[in-house]
């Protein structure tokens, strides 16, 4: 059954009103979020990165909204906060690139622009890569959440 039918069948509320689902997702969601943050922060060390980590984090918020109801989920990330994070992620990426221009090398330069490179293999290394990964991760997560809420609320 498509989600829209399920939504309509109980007056606009997400119908998964089940004790087991709620308890399980409440237990699982923190672990999913920690895993998403781990994938984002280790983007330059291990497989994964900003897009996959952001998708994992966004999915945890979608799971929260699905297993409780829309109001409880929307309280986690309000609309204006989501769009701020969304624009902030894209803007942060572009501004991180501008650092290279102001230092005197090319746009989106990394080592030449003087970002601290650290020891390869450590968490805080690779200069601009870590910064940009975090920005894109925030952007992807808020994109998924915003898309979900707007489509679900469009069904009401």
């Amino acid at each position: 059954m498509p989600l829209s039918d399920l939504t309509r069948s109980r007056g606009g509320k997400i119908p998964i009103d089940d004790q087991i689902v709620r308890i399980t997702s409440r237990l699982v969601v923190p672990f999913i979020q920690v895993y998403g943050i781990y994938v984002i922060l280790n983007g330059h060390l291990s497989p994964g990165g900003s897009f996959s980590g952001g998708a994992i984090f966004g999915a945890s918020l979608v799971l929260l909204a699905l297993s409780f109801n829309l109001e409880a989920g929307a309280r986690q990330i309000p609309h204006h906060a989501a769009s701020l994070l969304e624009s902030g992620g894209a803007l942060g990426y572009a501004l991180t690139g501008l650092v290279g221009v102001f230092v005197g090398s090319s746009y989106l330069a990394n080592r030449i622009a003087g970002f601290p490179m650290g020891q390869p293999g450590e968490l805080f290394s690779a200069g601009a890569i870590l910064v940009i990964t975090v920005f894109v991760g925030i952007k992807v997560a808020s994109t998924i959440v915003t898309l979900f809420y707007y489509i679900i609320e469009g069904e009401k």
Binding site: G43, H44, E86, G118, S125, A126, I129, V136, Y150, G154
Partner: protein
């Protein structure tokens, strides 16, 4: 010899489809065009270089540079990350822009209802 046999085979198939099954001529033309496209595409796939072979045209000095100098130049152990966020960072910026435009379009469409 092969081509003559193939032509005879095609004629027999055409007559069989047209006269015995009763397929429309328009459908027949469509079928033959589809068959021709399938032939061309599978011929192209058969001509493609072997996957993962070291003498592929894609394995030139560019990926060699990434593999040998990537860690020293970008500081990232993950070569994929060093390519998409350092060497090809401008491309990823465009990708993020596409995402941004997509979500803006969705919001603009859904809010108007």
């Amino acid at each position: 010899m092969f081509y003559i046999l193939f032509a005879i085979f095609l004629i027999i198939v055409t007559l069989f489809l047209r006269l015995i099954i009763g397929v429309e001529p328009r459908t027949l033309v469509t079928l033959y065009l589809l068959g021709f496209i399938i032939f061309l595409l599978s011929f192209t796939v058969a001509e493609m270089p072997t996957f993962g072979s070291p003498d592929n045209p894609a394995f030139n000095e560019v990926p060699r540079r990434y593999l040998e100098q990537g860690v020293a130049e970008t500081g990232a152990v993950n070569i994929v990350s060093s390519v998409i966020i350092d060497y090809r960072a401008f491309d990823t910026l465009g990708e993020a822009t596409v995402l941004f435009v997509a979500i803006a379009a969705v919001i603009a469409t859904l809010r108007s209802h």
